[in-house]
């Protein structure tokens, strides 16, 4: 069976840009194919992660981006799972290669979130919640996650200051990432004194709205050696699971769907959480990194909040994983449909020694966790190995 490899990656600037969705894709594709033959000579299928046609009034994203890449008459389709769409595209590419359906598949993700301002993004994102009871009540993405945070604080004695430490850590990581939307550190007071969005969350607990495009080329190990001389990254585990849509019917303090999805990817890869050197988890809001550290098996139950501390300073039972070295969704940015692939870009750079000032020495195994809807409404996980 082929061993799927990430051969090259590309990521557009993330944030408020003057480019449209297709242009953001063009930037990412140009980077990914700088050292490669034309996409038409390599790519057999395309998947596009994209949250919403509401931003640009455009569907048919598979056809559009295939055309912009010079691909003709290949299978090309959009996948949708709110903020998990990017990793969904990656998983389809990986599974197509692993099962022998195709030798080379392009996973892309794109979102032009700033098109309708913050109000437009708020409305578009609210479509991820149950129309019947949640949307009618005026629920928003920050308030959904705030419901998790408030309960987590209640059960584990966590404070708003503890949550703020996560934002401070991820901004410090983002300051070292030339790809990050926010390449600057923030201090605790800045986070704590920012305006409430949905208590306990303040502005600096929340990932920003931003545009972005990403492209990741997945091929068989055999084709990878033909295409590039440099080492590639093996995708040894991939899993996805839909849990349920309404947050009320969820375990609020332990994301069970995320935990099951993590276990499946570890099992496929034949590794465990203690083997993971670097991880990008879905820190759309500060509390997410704590919850997902527990779901991914990095932290003992109830101790996920120590994710803000460096490895070695956390309590017994924690692994030595380095979390959100890119700056995470919080600082690297969160262009919804591209986010899961931006996570893969960071893992690729860490595992190939390209991560510059934020390089984790000897990083050999990476774990990615991308979510859509509120928390683990849907989860996609990947294990990548050098």
């Amino acid at each position: 069976m082929p061993d799927p490899q990430i051969v090259s990656v590309g990521l557009s600037p993330v944030g408020r840009t003057d480019l449209t969705g297709r242009d953001l894709f063009s930037v990412a594709l140009a980077e990914a194919f700088e050292e490669l033959p034309d996409p038409a000579e390599v790519v057999e299928a395309l998947y596009v992660g994209n949250q919403s046609e509401r931003y640009e009034h455009q569907i048919m994203t598979g056809t559009l981006l295939a055309e912009w890449a010079g691909l003709q008459d290949v299978p090309a389709e959009r996948v949708e799972g709110c903020a998990a769409a990017g990793a969904m595209a990656l998983r389809h590419a990986v599974e197509d290669v692993r099962t022998g359906r195709h030798d080379a598949v392009l996973a892309a993700g794109v979102e032009k979130m700033t098109a309708g301002g913050t109000g437009g993004a708020t409305t578009s994102l609210s479509a991820a919640f149950d129309r019947a009871l949640e949307q009618r009540s005026g629920i928003t993405a920050p308030s959904q996650y705030a419901l998790l945070a408030r309960r987590y604080m209640h059960e584990h004695g966590v404070t708003e200051r503890d949550l703020a430490e996560i934002a401070v850590k991820n901004h410090a990581n983002g300051a070292k990432n030339p790809r990050a939307q926010f390449q600057k550190e923030v201090d605790l007071d800045t986070v704590l004194e920012s305006d409430y969005v949905a208590p306990p969350f303040k502005l600096f607990d929340c990932a920003p709205v931003g545009d972005g495009g990403a492209a990741v080329l997945v091929t068989t190990d055999e084709l990878a050696t033909d295409l590039v001389d440099d080492p590639t990254v093996s995708v040894s585990g991939a899993a996805a699971a839909a849990h349920n849509i309404a947050v009320a019917n969820r375990n609020l303090t332990f994301p069970e769907g995320a935990a099951a999805t993590a276990e499946r990817a570890y099992a496929q890869a034949g590794v465990g959480p203690t083997d993971v050197d670097v991880a990008e988890v879905h820190d759309a809001f500060t509390v997410c990194e704590a919850l997902l550290s527990e779901a991914a098996g990095f932290a003992p139950r109830g101790r996920g909040i120590e994710c803000a501390l460096p490895p070695g300073e956390r309590s017994e039972g924690w692994t030595d994983v380095h979390l959100s070295t890119s700056g995470g969704l919080k600082a690297r940015g969160h262009p919804i449909g591209a986010t899961g692939l931006a996570q893969a870009v960071e893992a690729y750079e860490q595992l190939t020694g390209r991560a510059g000032d934020r390089q984790v020495d000897g990083a050999e195994t990476a774990f990615l966790l991308n979510e859509g809807g509120v928390a683990d409404a849907v989860t996609v996980t990947h294990v990548l190995e050098a």
């Binding site: 005026g138 309960r151 208590p199």
Partner: protein
């Protein structure tokens, strides 16, 4: 043979059945909050649906839910979608009803006055002009559930 309900057939799924949203909101408009009770695992889910997401069983029956419950978690929306801006900030909560079913909804109380485990009661409101305006064509007469402190 057990006395468990059989899976719904195609003819059972009509707009006057509470297993559909039109049927659920019709009942809510009459003051009855309905859920689906699973005969296999005991889970209760609101709104009713043809299968239990906890155990997968399709042996489910409609049960009227109690109006009283307690706050499991809560927050306030300070940055609403534009269609809700006149109402912000507003408090929302996850409430566990006395049956064990959980429902998210508005809580008519100031955020500062709410605490986890507070007792609350479900009320049902006729749709006001603002709610009608942001409704889809088939939703305009659907009522809104709102929790109140008790």
């Amino acid at each position: 043979m057990s006395g468990k309900p059989s899976p719904l057939g195609p003819d059972d799924i009509t707009s006057d059945s509470p297993f559909t949203l039109p049927g659920f909101f019709d009942a809510l408009g009459e003051g009855r909050l309905l859920g689906a009770a699973c005969a296999d695992c005991g889970e209760t889910l609101v709104p009713p649906r043809p299968a239990c997401s906890a155990c997968g069983s399709r042996s489910v029956s409609v049960e009227e839910q109690p109006r009283t419950g307690r706050v499991v978690s809560y927050t306030a929306v300070h940055t609403p979608p534009p269609a809700f801006v006149e109402e912000a900030p507003y408090t929302v909560a996850i409430v566990e009803l006395d049956s064990g079913a959980r429902v998210t909804g508005r809580l008519e109380a100031d955020y500062e006055d709410v605490a986890i485990d507070d007792p609350v009661e479900l009320t049902v409101r006729e749709p006001d002009e603002a709610l009608r305006e942001r409704s889809l064509s088939y939703e305009t007469d659907w009522p809104l559930h709102v929790f109140e402190p008790r």
